[in-house]
C-alpha cells in the first residue's frame, strides 16, 4: 500500500485493512477483533446459527459478560437476577455452540468490554475492532480504529471477519494548551459537546490531537474517545505515541519479544502525515476548560460547574423546545446555579470513567470525609482487574469508610435494565456518558460529570466543585 499522498491515521489503518475497494467510496474491510456482550450478542449469534453460518475466525472473537449482571458483592454465590438470566444463559449457550471464548462472571478478567479490551491488550494500536455496542470507539484512545455496530451487521462481521464500510469523513479536533488542575478528560469531552452540539461530530472519524491530548494518560484518551459517540462522531482515535506504547507493552495479550518490536515499529508509523487532508477541523482551548456538569437530558446540555442553567429563550425552534422539555424533566430552572443542587445519589463507574487513575482521583477527594447523609453513593470498578488493583492500594477502604458502596465490576447503573437500581433516588450525579431521560431508571435525573466532581458532590450532598474539595 505504498502511497505518496499524505494520509491521516484513519486513512492508514483503513488502507491496511482494505480487502477490496467496492466502488462508490465503499471498502470491504478486514476486522482484527470482534467483541460481543450478553445484551446484544445472543440475537447476533442466534441470527448467525439460524442462517446456518459459523464464525470465520472464532479465535478473533471474544465474548464478555458485563451488561446484565448485578454488581452487589457475593454475586457468584447467588443465582442470576430474573432479568439477567435470559441474556447471560442465552449468551453462554450460543457462545459455546459457536465455539467462541467467553470471559464469564467467574473469570478474573471479567469487566466492561471497553475496559477489559485495552487493559488485557486484546485491542491494540492499528487494529480494526467492532462490537455490537455504541461505545466500542473507546479503544480509539490507544490508536485502534473501533466502532459500534448493530446485531445484523455483527452477523456479517462474525460470519466473514469483514465489514463493508464507506470511507468516513475525517475531522481533526485539537485541544490546544494545557488542561488546568481539577479538570480532566471527561471535562474536555463535555466541553467539546457543549460547544459544538451532540451532533457536532457529524458522523466523522475524529482524530483527537493537540497538547492537552498528548498530555493525557491512555486512560484519559479512552475517556475522550468513549464520549465521541455522544458527540455524533462515527468513531475517534488518538495516534499512538510513547505514552501509548509504554502502556500497551506488557499487557497480557500484547505481543512479546521480537513480535513486539515489529509491532512497535508499525504503531509508530500510524501517526497522521504532515499535510494530510481533513474534511473538518475543530479547535478548543483546553486551558479554559473547567469541571463540567450537565443540566439537561442530552450531553450537549453541559455547563462549567460555576455557571448557571441556560435560558431556553436564547435558543430557537426545535432546540428551544428540547431545552424546555429537558428543564421540565430535570426539574430545574433557567438562571439557577448548577453547583449546590441537592442530590440523592452519586455513581462512579461505566466504560467512561471507572479505570484505576480515575478511582484514585475520586478517592483523593473522598479520603477522610463522609458521604452526606441521605445520599446513596456507589463505586463500580470497570473491571475485576481494576477492582483488585484498587483494593491492593486500599482505595476500597477509602471509599467504604466514607460511606460509598464498593461493588463488583459491570455496567451496573450506567443504564437501567431493572437489575441494579438507585431505589427511590431521583437526582443523580454520575460519571457515566448518557443523561438521557430514563437512562439510569424511570424518572431518574442524571447529571454527567467527572469522577472527581461526582466524589465531591457525594460528600457535599449537592453538586460541588472538586477544586474546592481538593484544597481542604
Amino acid at each position: 500500500m505504498s502511497n505518496a499522498k499524505p494520509r491521516t491515521i484513519v486513512g492508514k489503518v483503513w488502507d491496511l485493512h482494505e480487502i477490496a475497494d467496492l466502488g462508490g467510496g465503499q471498502s470491504l474491510l478486514h476486522l482484527d477483533r470482534i467483541f460481543l456482550h450478553e445484551r446484544t450478542g445472543p440475537a447476533l449469534l442466534a441470527g448467525l446459527a439460524g442462517a446456518g453460518r459459523a464464525p470465520a475466525h472464532r479465535e478473533l472473537v471474544l465474548g464478555i459478560v458485563d451488561h446484565a449482571v448485578e454488581t452487589l458483592p457475593g454475586r457468584l454465590q447467588r443465582s442470576l437476577a430474573p432479568g439477567a438470566n435470559v441474556f447471560v444463559t442465552g449468551f453462554r449457550e450460543r457462545a459455546r455452540a459457536a465455539g467462541i471464548r467467553l470471559l464469564d462472571l467467574d473469570d478474573p478478567r471479567q469487566g466492561i468490554v471497553h475496559v477489559v479490551a485495552p487493559e488485557q491488550g486484546l485491542a491494540l494500536p492499528g487494529f480494526t475492532v467492532v462490537c455490537p455496542d455504541s461505545h466500542t470507539g473507546t479503544v480509539g484512545g490507544l490508536g485502534a480504529l473501533a466502532w459500534g455496530i448493530g446485531s445484523t451487521e455483527g452477523e456479517h462481521a462474525v460470519a466473514t471477519q469483514t465489514l463493508v464500510r464507506r470511507r468516513p469523513k475525517l475531522m481533526r479536533v485539537e485541544f490546544t494548551g494545557r488542561l488546568p488542575a481539577g479538570a480532566g478528560a471527561k471535562d474536555m469531552a463535555l466541553a467539546l459537546i457543549a460547544r459544538f452540539g451532540a451532533a457536532g461530530g457529524g458522523g466523522h472519524a475524529i482524530e483527537f490531537a493537540g497538547e492537552a491530548v498528548g498530555a493525557l494518560p491512555v486512560e484519559g484518551r479512552l475517556t475522550l474517545c468513549n464520549m465521541a459517540v455522544e458527540f455524533g462522531a462515527w468513531t475517534a482515535i488518538v495516534a499512538p505515541d510513547d505514552t501509548t506504547i509504554g502502556w500497551v507493552a506488557g499487557r497480557p495479550a500484547a505481543p512479546k519479544g521480537e513480535l513486539l518490536d515489529r509491532a512497535v515499529a508499525h504503531w509508530r508509523s500510524l501517526a497522521s502525515d504532515d499535510g494530510a487532508r481533513w474534511d473538518a477541523r475543530r479547535e478548543l482551548d483546553a486551558s479554559a476548560i473547567a469541571p463540567m456538569v450537565t443540566w439537561g437530558t442530552s450531553p450537549e446540555h453541559a455547563v462549567a460547574i460555576d455557571a448557571v442553567v441556560p435560558d431556553p429563550s436564547a435558543a430557537t425552534g426545535a432546540a428551544r423546545a428540547a431545552m424546555e422539555r429537558a428543564l421540565a424533566y430535570m426539574d430545574i430552572r433557567p438562571g439557577q446555579a448548577i453547583a449546590g443542587l441537592p442530590i440523592d445519589a452519586a455513581f462512579i463507574g461505566s466504560c467512561t470513567n471507572s479505570r484505576l487513575p480515575e478511582l484514585r482521583e475520586a478517592a483523593a477527594v473522598v479520603r477522610g470525609r463522609k458521604v452526606a447523609s441521605g445520599v446513596k453513593a456507589i463505586v463500580v470498578p470497570g473491571s475485576s482487574t481494576v477492582k483488585r488493583e484498587a483494593e491492593a492500594e486500599g482505595l476500597d477502604r477509602v471509599f467504604r469508610e466514607a460511606g460509598f458502596e464498593w461493588r463488583e465490576s459491570g455496567c451496573s447503573l450506567c443504564f437501567f435494565a431493572g437489575i441494579d437500581s438507585f431505589g427511590d433516588a431521583r437526582r443523580v450525579v454520575t460519571s457515566t456518558n448518557r443523561n438521557f431521560e430514563g437512562r439510569q431508571g424511570p424518572g431518574v435525573r442524571s447529571h454527567l460529570a467527572s469522577p472527581a466532581t461526582v466524589a465531591a458532590s457525594a460528600i457535599a450532598g449537592r453538586i460541588a466543585d472538586p477544586r474546592a474539595a481538593a484544597g481542604g
Binding site: 491496511l16 480487502i19 467496492l22 466502488g23 462508490g24 465503499q26 470491504l28 478486514h30 445484551r39 446484544t40 440475537a43 442466534a46 442462517a51 478473533l60 471474544l62 435470559v86 449468551f91 486484546l122 491494540l124 455490537p132 455496542d133 455504541s134 459500534g148 448493530g150 446485531s151 445484523t152 451487521e153 452477523e155 456479517h156 460470519a159 466473514t160 469483514t162 463493508v164 464507506r166 451532540a198 451532533a199 457529524g202 458522523g203 459517540v229 455522544e230 455524533g232 495479550a253 513480535l259 513486539l260 515489529r262 509491532a263 508499525h266 450537549e300 426545535a318 423546545a321 428540547a322 422539555r325 443504564f415 437501567f416 435494565a417 448518557r434 438521557f436 431521560e437 430514563g438 437512562r439
Partner: protein, 207 residues
Amino acid sequence: MEKLVRVEGIAAPLHRPNIDTDLIIPSREITSPGREGYGEKLFAPWRYAGPGRRENPDFVLNREPFRRAPILIAGDNFGCGSSREMAVWAIRQFGIRAIVTPSFGAIFRANCLRNGVLPVELPADVVARLAARAEGGDLVLAVDLEACRVTEPDGTAHGFAVGEREREMMLEGLDDVALTLRRQGEIDAFEARDRAARPWAWAPPRD
C-alpha cells in the same frame, strides 16, 4: 434483508432533536434477546402514561391518522445513543418504513438499512417545513428508493443519498453476507498477506 422500493403514506411529525435509542426502546422494555414483540414497546416512555400502560392520547403516534403512518419526520441526530438494534425492530414492527430527518445516529442508520426501514436525510429547513405541515395529519409523502427522491403532494421533490451497495441490497432484498462471501478468494488472499505482515494481529489471544 427486507426489500423496500417505495413508501407512500401519511407522515407523522416527531420533530425534536437528539431522540435517542433509549427513548425509542428503553432498556427495561428489552426483556429477552429475541427479535420479536417490540412494536408495542416503541417510544414506550411517551406512548404510555400511568399504571396499566394506558395510552397517552397526546402522543403523536397514538392519534389518528398517525397510528398507521408509514413515514416519520424527526429532528436532528435521530437514533443517537445505544447501538441496540431493537430500536429499529420496534420502528419496523410498528409499521414505519421510512424516517426523514436532517441526520441520524450512525449505528441506527446502518441498522435501518438492514431491517427494511429507509433512512432519508434532507436539509434541516426542508425537514422543519415538512414537520410543520405534517401536524395537520394530511401530509402524504412518496419516498422512492429507486429514484432516491421524496415527493410532496404538490410535486415538489427532494433528492437524498444512500450508498450504492445498500440501495441495491434494499431494492433487491439481497443477503449481505452472501454478497461478501462471493469474494472469499480475495478475503483469503488478504488474510495470507496480512498474516505475514502483521503476525501479532493473528496470534490468538492467550487464554
